[in-house]
């Protein structure tokens, strides 16, 4: 019983740390890439940075939608 509770605790801890760090990392990367993708003084656009940024933000959106799916019982 106690071993089961400890296993649950470790699972919750690992999941929380992993997902919170992932969403934080994705959002921060998205922001950094978005700013790096701005048109510079010479008029050059940095398309790859912008695409990378959109991919990172899309990852965040996916996690938020997954959280909504978990929250609302009628979805599952």
């Amino acid at each position: 019983m106690i071993a089961h509770e400890i296993a649950n605790f470790i699972t919750v801890l690992a999941t929380a740390v992993l997902i919170a760090s992932t969403i934080g990392g994705l959002y921060a990367s998205g922001l950094r890439l978005w700013i790096a993708g701005e048109v510079d003084a010479e008029g050059n656009a940095h398309l790859l940075h912008r695409i990378g940024s959109v991919v990172c933000f899309a990852g965040c959106v996916f996690i938020v939608l997954f959280a909504l799916w978990l929250m609302i019982p009628i979805f599952h």
Binding site: E5, N8, V12, A16, A20, G24, G25, Y27, L31, P73
Partner: protein
């Protein structure tokens, strides 16, 4: 149904809705304190958003708790009369109001469980309480919740600042503002889907107990609606005293830290509820704010406030239990006793509200100080060191 039973049932429903109101009122801070503190959302906008999401959340989830107390009370072995539930609710409401007065976040669920346990011990004896469940569902989560959420927020802040360290402060602040708003809204919605259910369960089980509703049926639409409205209204009113403590009293945070704290809270709440290790929302959110404060280089935490919070968490269950026990001792004498408890509760609530007027905290001044005191003269304006 005789008149005496009808009066008790009406009192239970009214008290359950008041508890629901105080639950929303007390827990607005969980979702919105960091957004208000960092300026990501204006105070009024934040409470309107949180109130609306709590109302929506109440309708989204129709899963009613199968037991009132989650196994803490042996409901199959002892008869839980409406008077016991009423007394337990009174204990929880008084404790919620007291902790609100001193600006301390405390778990409404633990207050409810404590109140019910106190009432059951007086009304039905100690055999009505499952003390193993008290340790597993109250004591252990109170100690573990802040550790789990705190570590998650700490790591998230470390990751964020490692990535954005080359950006200037202004870009970071404005960039994370939108993200923080989204994560705060997730916590508010999660609160609505969980916490309004407790009151729905109490009212439904009371109606079933007196034969006003068929056994095994779910909450009626009017029950869902009034519970959703009560928690939303409570959330909208904003427990500004608790918001100040969580937003400013524990640590000074900026938008990336607020984002990390809310993301860690939402993640921990969802992970724990889906992996069979239920943790308290209040303690999770408080822990994640502490973790986000510690995660930033040079960040610090006001440990005296954190220590007071920990004491409040540990005292919540026995304190609400004591009030619930006294309330039950009076209420079980009959209808007159029940009405007397209701009157005493109203007087105590009135006194607490009067005391709060000595040093009011509201949307206009919530970010002006970091501490909540009862007397305005002793209010400190010192920021966290």
């Amino acid at each position: 149904m005789d008149i005496a039973t009808l009066v008790v049932v009406i009192l239970v429903i009214a008290t359950a809705l008041i508890f629901d109101f105080t639950n929303g009122f007390h827990d607005t801070a969980n979702a919105m304190a960091t957004s208000i503190a960092t300026g990501a959302l204006k105070p009024k906008t934040a409470v309107i958003a949180a109130g609306t999401l709590n109302l929506i959340g109440a309708f989204l989830s129709t899963e009613v708790a199968k037991t009132i107390s989650g196994g803490i009370i042996n409901e199959q072995q002892v008869f839980i009369g409406p008077e016991f539930i009423f007394a337990g609710l009174v204990g929880a409401i008084i404790w919620n109001l007291l902790t609100w007065l001193v600006g301390l976040p405390s778990s409404s669920s633990h207050a409810l469980f404590g109140g019910l346990v106190g009432a059951v011990i007086v009304g039905a004896g100690v055999e009505g309480v499952n003390f193993g469940a008290v340790v597993a569902k109250v004591l252990v989560p109170a100690l573990i919740s802040p550790i789990v959420a705190g570590l998650a927020a700490f790591m998230a802040v470390k990751v964020i600042f490692a990535i954005v360290r080359k950006l200037d402060e202004k870009q970071i602040e404005s960039g994370f503002r939108h993200g923080q708003t989204v994560t705060a809204c997730l916590v508010a919605l999660s609160h609505g889907t969980n916490d309004a259910q407790k009151t729905m369960g109490i009212i439904t089980l009371t109606l079933i107990a007196v034969g006003a509703q068929a056994s095994g049926t779910g909450p009626q639409l009017w029950v869902v609606a009034v519970c959703g409205l009560a928690i939303a209204l409570g959330t909208y009113m904003g427990g500004w005293r608790v918001i100040r403590t969580l937003g400013k009293g524990l640590t000074e945070i900026n938008t990336p830290q607020g984002f990390a704290a809310e993301a860690a809270s939402a993640t921990t709440i969802l992970a724990s509820s889906h992996l069979g290790f239920a943790l308290s929302t209040t303690q999770v959110c408080s822990g994640s704010i502490i973790g986000s404060g510690l995660g930033k280089k040079g960040g610090s935490v006001n440990w005296s406030v954190a220590g007071r919070m920990l004491i409040a968490w540990l005292v919540t269950f026995p304190a609400a239990g004591l009030v619930g026990a006294v309330a039950c001792a009076i209420a079980k004498t009959g209808l007159g006793g029940t009405i007397a408890v209701a009157l005493i509760a109203v007087i105590v609530a009135f006194i607490i509200f009067r005391l709060s007027k000595r040093n009011p905290v509201n949307s206009a001044n919530v970010n002006e100080h970091s501490e909540v005191t009862i007397n305005a003269a002793s209010n400190s304006s010192h920021a966290v060191a």
